[in-house]
């Protein structure tokens, strides 16, 4: 069976057919593995492909179906995991040299939950090193390419996951979003990307970048698949103290509720900062929601534009502490030295890339005696201001509408020399993380160079329901061809690296 045939209809359709016995999980898995292997030389979505484990997991699903047992809501669905999610016995590198050779002795909670739901993990996807970046170019294993145009970046940091779904290699993937690392690559790759409310999904087993901002979420081609995945991975986990005890809503029901009467605010302050096609897509989306019965108005929340500065103090501060443990003593890379300090320094010098070093230094600086109040504490005050301004907006809005990114996918190498320019890629996504709110990006239009454009739906904490309602309405009227899967265009300067 061809991969296209096997994947028809997306994750939920696969699961339905596997559950009914019409399609075997092994066939689906083999198709995915074949596609992944074929795409890898061009796209490099994966750091590790776990073919044997995947086939064994698929066989276990098939055996359950045969035995009449419930194989789970995602039975037989191939899923790709961002390589900062711990997988028992499988290398987890964060695309960093410093974790070379490390195999976690445990599965992240989300990994265990997906597996219990019958999903079949096929491998670990590429990311910006330790999720620090917006293009997947800071990866120690080399960049992932955008399947819409392999000369361009897929976005980041979850670029491997986004590109894998966009290229149709897998119907589902998990990413992590600290400042936009799910939504931004989803937008640049023409797929759905969802960042849940902070605490809705357990972070246990997610290698920390900035603990107060990190959250795991799904990539999929459809909102229904993304919602189903969130339903599986969400819910309280006693291993994560920041995990919410709140029961998870029935998201599938929310998706079908429509937007009649839904109060939608368009974040005016972001429109002027976005490129033509990105701003235009939001206006179009607003009109579409109004046509569908939503109450749409513009809102001004100028404070949100300060989010970027606050983020680049808070996130590096937490990162500088979270990444201290990579010292060469216990696991991963060790470069020997004459004493332990020298060993630490040599290991970290060799093991971390430039962007990670930059953020560790920045974070160390802002937490230093004498600077803490001016930087870290001040950034936390800005964070509070952002929370309050969101709260004001949500007094008379159920959701907010905004561009996901300032522009469509940019060429590989275009921003690597200018970190600040790169940081601006997350201008519209960062405030959500600072507030701990949920947001999603829906592929909505085609923009410059025929590249996909995403529209972002933001909601208050635990507002996944209204967020999905608005998202579904946008999905229904999105431009044809605005979402994957796409076949990578071969030719031009990249023909040489193609399979």
């Amino acid at each position: 069976m061809s991969e296209t045939e096997a994947f028809a209809g997306g994750a939920l359709a696969i699961a339905a057919r596997v559950r009914s016995g019409e399609l075997s999980a092994r066939v689906v898995t083999e198709a995915a593995l074949e596609e992944i292997a074929a795409s890898e030389p061009l796209l490099h979505c994966f750091n590790t492909i776990t073919a044997e484990r995947a086939l064994a997991a698929a066989d276990a699903v098939d055996a359950k179906v045969l035995a009449g047992e419930d194989p789970g809501p995602l039975a037989g669905v191939p899923v790709a995991l961002k390589d900062n999610l711990c997988t028992r016995g499988v290398p987890t590198t964060c695309s960093s040299r410093i974790l070379e050779g490390w195999r976690p002795p445990y599965d992240a909670t989300v990994v265990a939950r997906l597996s219990a739901a019958g999903a079949v993990s096929v491998g670990k996807t590429n990311l910006d090193e330790f999720a620090m970046g917006s293009s997947t170019e800071t990866s120690a294993t080399g960049p992932t390419r955008n399947p819409w145009d392999p000369a361009r970046v897929p976005g980041g940091s979850s670029g491997g996951s986004a590109a894998a779904v966009a290229a149709g290699l897998v119907p589902l993937a998990l990413g992590s979003d600290t400042g936009g690392s799910i939504r931004q690559p989803a937008a640049l790759c023409g797929v759905v990307g969802l960042k849940p409310t902070y605490g809705l999904v357990s972070r246990y087993g997610l290698v920390a970048f900035a603990s107060s901002l990190d959250q795991i979420g799904p990539f999929a081609l459809t909102l229904a698949d993304a919602a189903a995945t969130l339903q599986v991975i969400a819910g309280h986990d006693e291993r994560d103290s920041t995990s919410l005890a709140h029961p998870v809503a029935d998201l599938a029901t929310e998706l079908r509720r429509g937007v009649e009467g839904l109060r939608v605010g368009v974040v005016a302050d972001f429109l002027s900062e976005a490129s033509g096609s990105c701003a235009a897509a939001v206006r179009q989306a607003a009109d579409a929601l109004a046509d569908a019965g939503a109450l749409v108005k513009e809102v001004a929340i100028p404070e949100l534009l300060h989010g970027l500065s606050a983020y680049y103090l808070i996130a590096p501060a937490e990162a500088s502490s979270n990444l201290a443990r990579y010292d060469g003593v216990r696991y991963g890379l060790r470069v020997d030295g004459d004493d332990v300090q020298e060993m630490n320094a040599r290991t970290r010098s060799a093991g971390f890339g430039d962007e990670v070093k930059r953020r560790i230094m920045l974070g160390t600086y802002v937490l230093s005696a004498g600077y803490y109040d001016a930087y870290y504490a001040q950034a936390q005050r800005v964070r509070t201001v952002i929370l309050r301004s969101f709260a004001r907006a949500y007094e008379d809005c159920d959701v907010l509408l905004a561009p996901t990114t300032p522009s469509v996918a940019f060429p590989i190498g275009a921003k690597t020399a200018d970190p600040l320019e790169m940081y601006l890629s997350d201008l519209f996504t960062i405030p959500t993380n600072l507030a701990g709110h949920p947001a999603l990006s829906v592929p909505f239009a085609l923009g410059e160079e025929g590249l996909p454009v995403g529209v972002q739906v933001l909601a208050p904490a635990l507002g996944e329901g209204p967020m999905l309602r608005a998202g579904a309405a946008l999905e229904a009227v999105a431009a044809p061809g605005a979402r994957g899967p796409v076949r990578p265009q071969l030719g031009g300067p990249l023909a040489g690296v193609a399979r």
Partner: protein, 483 residues
Amino acid sequence: MSRYTITGETGEWEIVVGLEVHCELLTKTKLFCGCPNAFGDEPNTNVCPVCLGLPGSLPVLNRRAVEMAMAIGTALGCEIRPSSFHRKNYFYPDMPKDYQVTQYDEPLNVEGRLTLVDGTPIGIVRAHMEEDTGKTTHMGGDGRIHGADYSLVDYNRSGVPLVEIVSAPDLRSPEQARSYVSELRAILVATGASDGRMEEGSLRVDANVSVRRFGGEEFGTRCEIKNLNSLRSLVRAIEYESRRQVELLERGGSVDQETRHWNEVEGRTSSMRSKEEAYDYRYFPEPDLVPLAPPAEWIAEVVAKLGLMPAQRRERLASLLGESSEAIEEQVATVIDLGLDDLVVATIASGADSRLVMARAANEAAQQPDAARQLDPERFGELIGLEAAGTLSATQAKAVLGELLTNGGRPADIADRLGFKALASDELGAVIDAVIAANPGEWDRYVGGDDKVAQFLLGKVMRETKGRANGKLVAEALASRRG
């Protein structure tokens, strides 16, 4: 307590000491994971992703540890406040995350007081929660990290819950410091939060020492002394360090604020880290934990479960024992330390001789404290009664007590089974007469008024009766024969 000063060449100096005591909590599991909290196990066996700080792992606060910390705070008269955790960042190989989770500007317990046995009040600034580090053994060199050939790290201790108790700089002598730690230790043991074993590192003390002219108001520059593993080290280190500072100041020098290491063998302190080399810990709120604000009902539960503290327990015993002596104070300390005071109080209440109860509890029962705590006061009282009446000799009573603690039963039955029948008075009389006849010289001296010989004669009688005679009765019999 008499005032303690150091007499230098230029005058009298006073010392000022504040102590930081780290207390390992006796929880079954570690502070942030379910690994056993156990001392002395095979290295690196009580570990998991959390206490090894593996990437992706997260801490979950141990409820029992919080309760013990609140019990300690309550016992020290602290206010229990809403608190939070911070990260203290520095690199050290035995600290798996290269930061320590600790409480910083919002500690759980603040502003308490500890009253020394002599009545001196010592302020408690705070008693906060934190995690312990692993343990490094440096191989080769002089056992310290610099110059070692290699180092071995055991992470079994990593993540063990600690409470750090910080005193105000209220201590004014090495002896007061000893008294403070000794009383604090008794309090910690009484709360059930600690086993108080300094030698196993379950209590660790750092001392902040400074000196000033006697009668001065301002504090001098302090040094923090680490590696104080016993009360003896604590006293010696404070004595040494304060003299060092006085000599330095009298020579016109100044004390540098620094961290100093106590070398027990050489009996001196040496510089570990100067102020300039001090770590910048870059404290910031631990984002992986939520704030800890114990609700009033929870605090009330902990307070209600707290038993009597050592000072109250000492008072209770003192009121039963009458006039005190050094020996009795020691017995009281032992009995309280081992938690045998409830037994003692109940046994005395049943009508037994109080001094004898104390002696048997502090000396013999203390050998088997677990069994002794289970002992029925009525049985214990029966035994004391037999000894007090002379039915059993001291030696016999000790043997019966040993049997009682090991196998239980009624003291009278045990005595029968062991063949401890009281010596009939005619039998005892015959033995005494025989001893007198066999030692005419000693007898004459005794008759002549030399009372010291009584012990010799008594010993002979005891030997002849194989300890079955009651010493008091023998002494009386000897005295009456002397006429």
